[in-house]
C-alpha cells in the first residue's frame, strides 16, 4: 500500500510541476509584459520601462525566471504581485473562501434542482412532464452564464430588489450567483439521475419488490430514489472542477471576490507570480481530490459494500 501511495504522490507532483511549466510557457509567449499595464506606453521613456522591467525581474530569460519562481515556491514563498507587491499566498488565501462558498452554494442548487427534475422525469418517463423537466434541465447547460447572470441581476435585484446584485458578504449575495452557476450543474445532474433511476427501476430486484406487493410509488421513492442519489452526489465531485472554472465569469458578473477573478485579472495584466500561484493552488486542489478518490478505491473494495 505504501508503494502505491508513494507512486501516486510522485506522479501528482509531476503533474503539478508540469502544469506550472505549461502555464509559465504560455505566459512567457504571451505578448507584452506587465509594464504595459502599469505604465502608459505613450508617456514612458525607454529608460523608465527598462528600469521597471529590471526591477520586476521580467527582463530575465525564460529559464532563469522560471527557476526563480519555482525555487521560491518550493521554499513556500509564492512571491508578490507585480502590480502592487501584495504577497501572492495571502492574496489566494484571502480570496479562496469566497470562491469555495460560491462553489458549495452552487453545488447545493445544482443537486436540489437536478434531483427534483431528474426524479420527476424518471417517474413520469416519456410523458410530457419528463420532457419538460429535461428541457428545463437542458436550459441551464445551454445559456451563456454571463447572460443568465445579468438577466437574474436585472430581474431579481434591480427590478424586484430581492437580492443584492453584487458583493461577497453574507448569504444574500450568494443567492443569484449560486443560481446562475447551479443551473449549469443541474442540467448534468438531471441527465444522470434520470438514467440511473431508470436503470434501477428496470433492474431485477425492483421487479421482485413489485411482485411482493409494494406499491409502485413506494418502489420509486424508497428504492429507486435512494439508489439514484448516489450517482447524483458523485456527479458533484466531477462538477466541482467545472464550477471552479465557472467562477471566472460569474465572479466578474456579480462583482464578487474570488480566485476566478484574481486569475483572469492577473492573466490580462501578465502578473506572473499571481497566475503561477493560483495555478499551483488549483492544480494542488485538483490533484489532492483525485488522489483521494483513487486511493479510496484501493482501500474500500466496492464489491464488498455492494454485496452487503
Amino acid at each position: 500500500m505504501a508503494g502505491v501511495l508513494a507512486r501516486r504522490l510522485f506522479s501528482s507532483l509531476l503533474v503539478i510541476i508540469g502544469s506550472l511549466i505549461l502555464v509559465f510557457a504560455i505566459l512567457y509567449v504571451l505578448p507584452g509584459d506587465p509594464t504595459d499595464t502599469i505604465i502608459d506606453p505613450s508617456v514612458a521613456t525607454p529608460e523608465v520601462v527598462a528600469n521597471l522591467r529590471h526591477q520586476l525581474g521580467v527582463d530575465q530569460p525564460f529559464y532563469i525566471q522560471f527557476a526563480r519562481y519555482f525555487g521560491d515556491m518550493i521554499r513556500g514563498d509564492f512571491g508578490q504581485s507585480l502590480m502592487n507587491s501584495e504577497p501572492v499566498l495571502g492574496k489566494i488565501l484571502d480570496h479562496f473562501p469566497a470562491t469555495l462558498a460560491l462553489t458549495a452554494a452552487s453545488s447545493f442548487v445544482a443537486v436540489s434542482i437536478g434531483l427534483v427534475l431528474g426524479v420527476l422525469s424518471a417517474v413520469h418517463r416519456n410523458r410530457p412532464i419528463d420532457l419538460i423537466a429535461r428541457i428545463v434541465g437542458l436550459f441551464g447547460i445551454s445559456m451563456p452564464t454571463f447572460w443568465s447572470g445579468i438577466l437574474l441581476i436585472v430581474l431579481l435585484s434591480l427590478k424586484l430588489g430581492w437580492f443584492p446584485a453584487m458583493g461577497s458578504d453574507g448569504w444574500k449575495t450568494l443567492v443569484l450567483p449560486a443560481i446562475t452557476l447551479g443551473t449549469v450543474g443541474a442540467g448534468f445532474i438531471v441527465r444522470m439521475v434520470r438514467s440511473s433511476m431508470l436503470d434501477i427501476i428496470d433492474e431485477h430486484f425492483i421487479l421482485t419488490l413489485r411482485s411482493k406487493g409494494l406499491s409502485e410509488r413506494a418502489v420509486m421513492y424508497k428504492h429507486a430514489l435512494r439508489n439514484a442519489l448516489i450517482p447524483a452526489i458523485t456527479m458533484i465531485g466531477m462538477l466541482i472542477g467545472e464550477m471552479l472554472a465557472g467562477t471566472v465569469v460569474i465572479e466578474t458578473v456579480f462583482s464578487r471576490q474570488g480566485i476566478g477573478r484574481i486569475i483572469s485579472d492577473a492573466l490580462m495584466a501578465k502578473d506572473l507570480p499571481v497566475v503561477q500561484g493560483v495555478i499551483f493552488f488549483s492544480a494542488f486542489v485538483y490533484v489532492i481530490v483525485n488522489t483521494l478518490v483513487d486511493l479510496s478505491y484501493t482501500f474500500i473494495d466496492p464489491r464488498v459494500r455492494r454485496s452487503a
Binding site: G32, N84, I150, T234, D265
Partner: protein, 559 residues
C-alpha cells in the same frame, strides 16, 4: 458503475469543508460591513443638521461609490490607472492645485518663486499640516516624495514621466524647499498638482517599503481604512483636515464619515445599483443610461469633461500612402465624426475638433466646425493620387489595395471598438478597406513595430505641453510618437511652448500647432470624454477638479 461509491465520500468531505470555510468567511465579512450592504448608507449615528433647507451640508454618513475597475495600487507613485486616481485624490494632497482657468494656486505650498532661468522652483510650505499617521508635513517629506519617484527601487510608473525634468531638491529650512530641474518646463507646476505626484508620508513609506500601496498614508481629507481586493476600498474622515485648496468649498474636515469605493465592473449592474438603492453613486455612466437617467426622479447625473488630449485617431505618418497629407485629408473628409458621436454617445459626449480638449490652456475654438464631411472632395483627392476603384469597390494602385490597418488597444472601453466598426463602413464608401485589429499588446504592435495606419488614444493632462510627447520628433533611440510625425516647424513651436513665460504668446504658439495638425490631417480628433457619475438625489456636493476627478471634501448625504 460500482467504482463510484467511494467518490461520494470525497465529494461529501469537500462539501463539508467548503461549507465550513464559507461560514468562516461570511462571518468575517459581516463584522466589517455594518454600514453599507443593501441599505443606503445614510443612517449613521452622529448626524447634525445645520439648516434643513437642503443648502447646508449634513454631517455624517458613508458614501458608497461604485468604480468601474479596480485600482492597481494606492501608491500614487506606482499607479498607472485613472481609476486609482479617484481614490488617491481622497488620501493624498499635492503641493499646488490647478484651477479651471488653468492658473496654479497654493495647496500644501503657500507660495513659490521661479528662478530667472526657469530651472529652479522655491516653495514655502504650510506649517500646520500633518500626515494621517501623525508625521509632520515639511520640506523633508516633499524631498522624500519626489526623490522616491526617481529611485528605481520604487518601481514608479507614470509619475516618473510627470515629474520630469525634476533633478533634485534642496531643503532650505523646515518649511522651504527648492526643486531643481534639468531644463525649464512650463508644464512642471501643473504636473505637481496631479495626484500621482501627491506627497506621501515618509515614515509610512519607509516602513512599508513596496507594501506602501496597500497601506497608503498621505495628508488628504480621508484616511485609508482597508482594501478588499476586487470588492471595496474604505476610507474614513480625517478629522484634523484643515488645509483644503481654493477649489474646495469646505476647508475643514469632510462632512462624510467615510467613503466605500465598491468595484462593480458590469455596466448594467453598476448603474442599476444606484437606481435600486444598493449604492449611492456610480461612476462612468454609459451614454444609453445617461439618456435614461434624465427622466429618473430618484437619480441625478453629475458630469465633468476631462482635459488634455481628447480621444484622437493618430495616423502613422511613416506608412505610405498615409504619409501624404492628401490621402489623410481624404479620410478626414470621408469620416462623419458627428454621426459617430451622435450614434454611439447619443449626444452625451462632445465632439472633439482639436488635438486639445476645450478646457486645456491654449485651446483654439476657431477649429470648431472647420471640417465637414465631403465625399465628393474625398473621392477627388484619392483619384488625384491615382487610387482607382476596383471591382469590389476598393481602390487600387499598382496592384495594391487601399487599406487602413486600424489598431485599437482596449476591449471596447468608451465604445472605442464601435467607433472602428462605424469608420470601417464609412470609409468603404470612398473605396478604402479598413482592417480592425484589437490588441492588448500596444507596446509591440504600435510602438515597436509601428504596424498600424490608425491608432486611437487619449490622455488626461493639465498642460498643452502634453502635445510635446505626441507630436515632437522622437529622440533617435527613444520611443516613437503615435503619429510618428517629424516636422521641424512643429518641433520648434513645441519647444517654444514649453518655455514661453508670457501666457498670451504661449497660447498663440499652441493655437498654431493645433491648426497645423488639423490642416494637415495629422490626426482625427473624435470625442471629449466626460467623467460621469450617477448619484442618488440625496448625495450632494460632489465636485470635480480641473482634470475631471471627483472631490469629496464637501460631499454630504441629505436625509
Amino acid at each position: 458503475m460500482n467504482k463510484r461509491k467511494p467518490l461520494i465520500l470525497t465529494a461529501t468531505m469537500l462539501l463539508v469543508l467548503a461549507l465550513v470555510l464559507a461560514a468562516c468567511s461570511s462571518s468575517k465579512g459581516k463584522e466589517q460591513n455594518a454600514a453599507d450592504s443593501a441599505q443606503p448608507a445614510a443612517a449613521t449615528a452622529d448626524t447634525k443638521t445645520d439648516g434643513s433647507e437642503g443648502g447646508a451640508a449634513v454631517q455624517g454618513g458613508t458614501l458608497s461609490y461604485a468604480l468601474a475597475t479596480s485600482p492597481d495600487t494606492l501608491d500614487p507613485h506606482r499607479s498607472g490607472l485613472a481609476v486609482a486616481v479617484r481614490v488617491l485624490r481622497t488620501i493624498y494632497d499635492s503641493l499646488v492645485v490647478q484651477l479651471p482657468d488653468n492658473s496654479i494656486k497654493p495647496w500644501l505650498a503657500t507660495s513659490w518663486t521661479v528662478s530667472d532661468d526657469g530651472k529652479s522652483y522655491t516653495f514655502k510650505l504650510r506649517q500646520d499640516v500633518k500626515f494621517q499617521d501623525g508625521t509632520p508635513f515639511n520640506a523633508e517629506a516633499v524631498k522624500y516624495s519626489y526623490d522616491r519617484i526617481l529611485d528605481p527601487a520604487t518601481k514608479a510608473a507614470n509619475a516618473v514621466a510627470l515629474l520630469a525634468p525634476y533633478e533634485s531638491s534642496e531643503i532650505i529650512d523646515d518649511y522651504t524647499i527648492k526643486l531643481n530641474l534639468s531644463t525649464p518646463s512650463r508644464a512642471f507646476l501643473g504636473n505637481l498638482s496631479q495626484a500621482l505626484l501627491g506627497i506621501v508620508s515618509p515614515t509610512a513609506a519607509k516602513k512599508d517599503g513596496d507594501q506602501f500601496g496597500l497601506n497608503p498614508v498621505g495628508t488628504g481629507p480621508f484616511k485609508f481604512v482597508k482594501w478588499e481586493q476586487n470588492a471595496e476600498i474604505q476610507v474614513e474622515r480625517n478629522p484634523d483636515y484643515n488645509w483644503a485648496p481654493e477649489t474646495v468649498e469646505n476647508k475643514g474636515a469632510p462632512y462624510l464619515d467615510g467613503i466605500t469605493f465598491k468595484i462593480i465592473p458590469e455596466e448594467a449592474t453598476r448603474i442599476g445599483s444606484v437606481q435600486s438603492g444598493q449604492v449611492l453613486a456610480a461612476e462612468t455612466v454609459p451614454p444609453q443610461n445617461i439618456v435614461a437617467l434624465k427622466d429618473d426622479k430618484k437619480t441625478q447625473l453629475l458630469q465633468a469633461n476631462t482635459v488634455g488630449l481628447p480621444y484622437t485617431l493618430f495616423f502613422n505618418e511613416e506608412r505610405p500612402p498615409w504619409n501624404e497629407a492628401k490621402a489623410r485629408q481624404a479620410v478626414q473628409l470621408a469620416i462623419d465624426v458627428d454621426s459617430i458621436v451622435k450614434t454611439l454617445y447619443l449626444g452625451t459626449y462632445d465632439r472633439a475638433w482639436s488635438p486639445l480638449t476645450p478646457g486645456t490652456f491654449g485651446y483654439d475654438p476657431s477649429l470648431e466646425n472647420s471640417v465637414k464631411p465631403d465625399l465628393t472632395k474625398a473621392n477627388a483627392l484619392l483619384d488625384e493620387l491615382g487610387w482607382v476603384k476596383g471591382a469590389d469597390g476598393i481602390r487600387e494602385k499598382d496592384g495594391k489595395k487601399l487599406t487602413i490597418h486600424y489598431v485599437d488597444g482596449t476591449p471596447n472601453r468608451e465604445k472605442r471598438n464601435d467607433i472602428a466598426v462605424i469608420i470601417q463602413q464609412q470609409l468603404k464608401a470612398i473605396g478604402i478597406s479598413v482592417e480592425v485589429e484589437i490588441t492588448k499588446d500596444v507596446r509591440t504592435v504600435v510602438f515597436t513595430n509601428g504596424a498600424y495606419d490608425l491608432y486611437g488614444n487619449s490622455q488626461v493632462n493639465s498642460d498643452p505641453n502634453a502635445l510635446y510627447s505626441f507630436y515632437h520628433t522622437a529622440k533617435p533611440n527613444g520611443t516613437p510618437t503615435l503619429p510618428r510625425l517629424s516636422d521641424p516647424d512643429v518641433d520648434k513651436l513645441l519647444e517654444q511652448g514649453l518655455v514661453e513665460t508670457d501666457d498670451t504668446k504661449r497660447a498663440e504658439i499652441y493655437k498654431q500647432i493645433q491648426h497645423y495638425i488639423i490642416d494637415q490631417a495629422v490626426v482625427l480628433p473624435i470625442y471629449v470624454f466626460p467623467y460621469t457619475v450617477a448619484a442618488d438625489r440625496s448625495v450632494q456636493g460632489i465636485v470635480f477638479d480641473t482634470l475631471g476627478y471627483p472631490i469629496f471634501n464637501s460631499a454630504s448625504i441629505k436625509k
